[in-house]
């Protein structure tokens, strides 16, 4: 351990909800995006699932809203070290979309992509079983554009760069294919509890 002279840190309460190396951002919700925030209306938003599936399909805003509503209430963790407790998102579970397209048995991974061209890769197992959503509401209100509105992917158990903003689709693959930040040196999976920040962690 490399103790820093004179550094005590903030008075801390034992917080078991905080993954290693993270701090509680409190009411802040920092915006971390390398892109120009797009001017994307819900009327122009679509979401597609294709690749290794029986029945590729594209949903528009109204069609996606006919799927069963599903909410997430819990914590989110950003690789830049902040975590946010007890946030509330609403949308549709990704399981509902996958049930329609029916993934092939050979599908193991997915690439999520946004309406802006951002990409991020995920093991399919991280997107199923009630662990991922397409979210369009935050705290009871429409998701703000700078946080990915009208709709973003939400995979709260992984670092938040995996939760692609302005999500446009998922392509299912039988192999892993690094996305935007992953090609820029970030970890392929990004589990906050194992501190998988950068490739090599």
């Amino acid at each position: 351990m490399n103790v820093t002279r004179g550094f005590t840190g903030r008075p801390r309460v034992q917080n078991t909800g905080l993954p290693p190396g993270q701090y509680d951002a409190g009411d802040d919700w920092p915006v971390l995006s390398a892109e120009v925030t797009p001017d994307l209306s819900s009327a122009d938003w679509t979401f597609r699932v294709d690749g290794l599936v029986e029945q590729p399909r594209t949903w528009d805003w109204d069609e996606a809203h006919t799927l069963p509503a599903s909410a997430y209430e819990g914590d989110i963790h950003c690789v830049t070290s902040w975590s946010k407790f007890g946030v509330r998102f609403a949308g549709v579970s990704l399981d509902a979309f996958l049930a329609v397209v029916r993934p092939h048995g050979s599908a193991t991974h997915a690439v999520a992509y946004s309406h802006t061209g951002y990409t991020t890769n995920l093991p399919l197992a991280d997107l199923t079983g009630g662990r991922a959503w397409i979210a369009w509401e935050y705290d009871g209100k429409p998701l703000p554009a700078e946080h990915g509105g009208p709709a973003r992917l939400l995979v709260p158990h992984l670092y938040f760069w995996k939760s692609a903003k302005w999500v446009a689709g998922l392509t299912l693959l039988d192999h892993d294919e690094p996305g935007f930040w992953e090609q820029n040196g970030y970890h392929a999976r990004g589990n906050p509890w194992e501190e998988q920040r950068y490739s090599g962690d």
Partner: protein, 251 residues
């Protein structure tokens, strides 16, 4: 039925920049050698990092402080120094009121202290010096841009480089002594005599886009989220293509 994956490539990773994953994964000890005051609220911290593998202007690193009981705090900081300053890196930190890490730097740190760093990180905001660059920053957002300006000078590059920086007042303009003809400062509260006060506007950006170098600008925008939103919108309205705007937001 199988479909092939065809992502929209509007927002692609610049292929000319490679990031070493090994350097990014390892913590190294950085020894503070010098502290220089830049403004009443910002200072530059110079470190010796003997095994530093080098970086490209615009990249950042992760910095970690450790308390006696093992508690750690880690934050991202842009690298202010150019790659030419080998074996050393400089960071410029704003003193954030109540800030855990910047507070330690501004009130406790002194030469000889050791901290840990890992990096350089992220190739997206990096500028290797090969394309005309239009840099727009506010406050400490000038830090990664200054690495680019310093690199441009150290190498005597002739590729066009222009910088717009916003500060509250001349006293709060970081690196004021070092800024040259490539830079236009914009002051939002107080300005020197004869210089108008006001926020960055279309009038600052338009002339730079009207007089574009051959092949156009790569635009680099850095600062708070509010500033990044404002400046990137000005660029888009002035005709800069969105896929040639790179943004670093300090949160």
């Amino acid at each position: 039925m199988t479909e092939t994956f065809a992502p929209v490539t509007r927002f692609a990773v610049p292929g000319r920049i490679a990031v070493s994953s090994r350097a990014a994964a390892e913590w190294q000890t950085a020894t503070l050698t010098e502290v220089r005051r830049e403004t009443p609220y910002a200072s530059t911290f110079r470190f010796a990092v003997p095994a530093w593998q080098g970086h490209l202007p615009g990249q950042h690193l992760m910095l970690r402080l450790t308390a006696e009981d093992g508690y750690t705090a880690q934050r991202h900081y842009s690298i202010a120094s150019p790659p030419e300053d080998s074996g050393h890196i400089e960071l410029t930190l704003d003193h954030v009121e109540g800030g855990e890490v910047s507070g330690w730097f501004h009130t406790v740190a002194r030469p000889g202290d050791e901290v840990e760093v890992r990096g350089p990180l992220s190739g997206f905001f990096a500028w290797p010096g090969d394309r005309p660059a239009l840099l727009i920053g506010a406050g400490s957002g000038v830090v990664p841009l200054m690495s680019m300006v310093r690199h441009h000078r150290a190498r005597g590059l002739s590729v066009p480089l222009r910088m717009l920086v916003s500060a509250r007042s001349p006293e709060e303009l970081i690196y004021a002594r070092e800024l040259g003809a490539e830079t236009t400062p914009v002051f939002t509260r107080n300005s020197p005599q004869g210089v108008p006060v006001g926020r960055m506007a279309a009038a600052h950006v338009a002339p730079l886009l009207a007089a574009q170098p051959e092949g156009g600008w790569e635009a680099y925008v850095c600062g708070s989220n509010a500033f990044a939103e404002h400046a990137s919108r000005l660029l888009v309205e002035a005709g800069q293509p969105v896929d040639r705007i790179r943004i670093e937001r300090f949160g």
